[in-house]
């Protein structure tokens, strides 16, 4: 099919405009991260006059970035792992059985997804204070408290998406496994989970990414040694000077692993996200 001139112009203009818009901040990030401090505090220049890698060394000393990295890693991995396990079990039940309360459950899960995070923040904050008072388990300013709150937004999405994904896998597959005597859990483990791998990957990436970027809960529920990257990064600008070059370097350092992971797995992600659409 030939492309008309109009369509061609549209295509080129769209791609050029959106590429420039997308690249602009990325360019500023990369070039500013290799400028000396004096240069980023002066008028902006498109190219660095002097290139230095010093900001990439300094970021680890200006604020305890490594500590924040570890905190983020622990919190995000735990939230992702816990939600995957719980969601797999729940999605299996919702997808393969029809039982009393099934609709109530799915409706609740779906509707909690749309609730604003701020609605849960205040009560969770208060509940945590009171749990700590009653039991002595510290939940404010700890990673445990943050992991629990991250389940508020990770879990419903995981259940919703995995249930949709399981629905797309023919029932005959796991029924056959059950006939072979593996039992219900065996069918889940040996048949459904391997078949749903793209869905699991997609849910995992999505959960990890959203936790990695979360600010609202982290800003209230963490302090000093338990802060995550999202909060820690703000500290470069509360110093005497705003270390813009270090902020850009640190932003790149915390972004690169997750961007690479996402881009490598994007096919699985798209396939999982639109399990129904592409079928």
């Amino acid at each position: 099919m030939r492309e008309t001139t109009g369509a061609r112009v549209f295509r080129v203009v769209t791609i050029v405009v959106l590429s420039l818009f997308t690249i602009f901040p990325l360019w500023v990030m990369v070039t500013s991260s290799v400028k000396p401090l004096g240069e980023v505090l002066d008028s902006f220049t498109w190219w660095p006059k002097n290139i230095t890698l010093q900001p990439y060394i300094d970021i680890w000393n200006t604020v305890p970035l490594a500590q924040y990295f570890v905190n983020s890693l622990i919190v995000c991995t735990a939230a992702t792992g816990i939600s995957l396990v719980i969601a797999v079990l729940a999605a299996y039940a919702v997808s393969r059985w029809r039982f009393h309360g099934r609709n109530v459950f799915t409706t609740t899960v779906l509707s909690t997804q749309m609730f604003p995070g701020i609605l849960f923040l205040l009560p969770l904050f208060l509940i945590f204070i009171n749990i700590t008072q009653a039991t002595g388990i510290p939940l404010i300013g700890t990673r445990l408290g943050l992991i629990i709150t991250y389940l508020t937004f990770v879990l419903p999405f995981a259940i919703w998406m995995l249930a949709g994904y399981f629905d797309g896998i023919p029932r005959e597959l796991d029924e056959a496994a059950k006939v072979d005597g593996t039992g219900s859990m065996g069918a889940l483990w040996h048949v459904l989970l391997p078949a749903a791998r793209p869905g699991l990957v997609a849910v995992g990436i999505y959960s990890f990414m959203t936790s990695w970027g979360e600010l609202l809960f982290a800003s209230v529920l963490t302090n000093g040694p338990t802060q995550t990257l999202a909060i820690g990064l703000q500290q470069y600008s509360t110093q005497v000077n705003v270390y813009w070059n270090q902020i850009m370097a640190a932003s790149l350092v915390v972004s690169v692993p997750i961007v690479i992971a996402f881009l490598l797995l994007q096919r699985s992600f798209v396939a999982g996200l639109t399990a129904g659409a592409v079928k």
Partner: protein
């Protein structure tokens, strides 16, 4: 809430492939309890992180929960609708602030969702046909979505600085626009800064969803209509758009909810201390109302009102969408 159920947004029903096949009923047979057991952890966590906090939140909105009662909030006096009366009183300071924030958020959401959708659709269509380098652009366009939220916004914050920022440099030093370099993060421009940054982050998501949706549109539909002499725009109107409808129904709703509840963009752009009134989005407003003054009663009342508003909009939207699809 059950009103949402018929049109719920699972990929299954959203893509129009019909209702999922009903699994056969298991009751009465051995192992009928198994699904409940499987569901148990999820139910426990749902209760812990959603239901219980939500009920608590609604209850807090009816009591006088100020700093002095934080640690023994069972003793906080009951106010009935007292908190609500204050936060909706547009003549008072609190109510006026909330109304201002609500209107700004509406304008912000409308602009961001509309422009992001148009950009995402344009990019998805532009990359629909194979050409050398297509993969590179696809990857590039997804980067703003993959990058951690705060990292992208911090880069923009640097670019929006008045004297050292890249945006003013681009506009006034490179493109030589007339006039003075303006402040972007203070005053009225703060609103436009929010809009631009939010679009930068959101449009790749629209692109991702629409691109995935386009994969399911059969190529021969276009071939056939081209034979009939349909121009590209006409093809988009009568083939692409209707085929993408199921994706769009979900996409627009999700983008609306995310944007309306956006907290990260103003929080990172403006910080805790300096909030320009023009950039006072509602989640940010509630956050500040709660944690700067520690009046959780007001904050909760505002959150509940926000929730009610979102529920009404969502239900109205789904009803509208369902009625249209029945007529079609």
């Amino acid at each position: 809430m059950s009103a949402i159920a018929p049109a719920h947004t699972s990929p299954e029903s959203a893509t129009g492939s019909g209702a999922p096949r009903r699994p056969p009923r298991r009751r009465g047979r051995a192992g009928w309890w198994l699904p409940y057991l499987l569901l148990l952890p999820a139910v426990v966590f749902e209760l812990l992180v959603h239901i219980f906090p939500m009920v608590t939140g609604i209850w807090i909105s009816f009591i006088k929960l100020t700093q002095q009662y934080l640690r023994n909030w069972s003793e906080a006096p009951f106010l009935g609708f007292g908190n609500y009366r204050v936060v909706v009183d547009v003549n008072g300071v609190v109510g006026k602030g909330l109304l201002n924030s609500f209107l700004i958020t509406c304008a912000f959401t409308l602009l961001v969702v509309a422009i992001s959708w148009v950009a995402g659709m344009a990019a998805a269509v532009a990359l629909q046909r194979r050409f050398p380098g297509r993969g590179i652009f696809r990857t590039l366009f997804l980067i703003p979505y993959a990058i951690p939220i705060y990292a992208g916004i911090i880069a923009w914050k640097f670019m929006l600085q008045k004297d050292t920022g890249a945006l003013n440099h681009l506009l006034f030093d490179t493109l030589h626009l007339p006039g003075e370099k303006p402040f972007w993060l203070i005053g009225g421009n703060a609103f436009w800064s929010l809009v631009i940054v939010a679009i930068w982050r959101l449009w790749p998501f629209a692109f991702l969803m629409l691109m995935a949706g386009l994969q399911s549109v059969p190529e021969d539909l276009y071939e056939a209509s081209a034979v009939d002499g349909a121009k590209p725009f006409r093809q988009w109107r009568s083939i692409t758009l209707p085929m993408l409808r199921p994706v769009n129904v979900v996409l627009v709703l999700v983008m609306f909810l995310w944007t309306f509840n956006d907290f990260n963009t103003p929080f990172v752009l403006f910080g805790k201390t300096a909030q320009p009134p023009a950039g006072d989005l509602i989640s940010f407003h509630i956050y500040n109302a709660s944690f700067l003054t520690f009046n959780f009663g007001y904050g909760s009342a505002m959150s509940v009102l926000l929730l009610i508003f979102l529920l009404i909009v969502t239900i109205a939207y789904l009803l509208f969408v369902n009625r249209r699809s029945k007529r079609a």
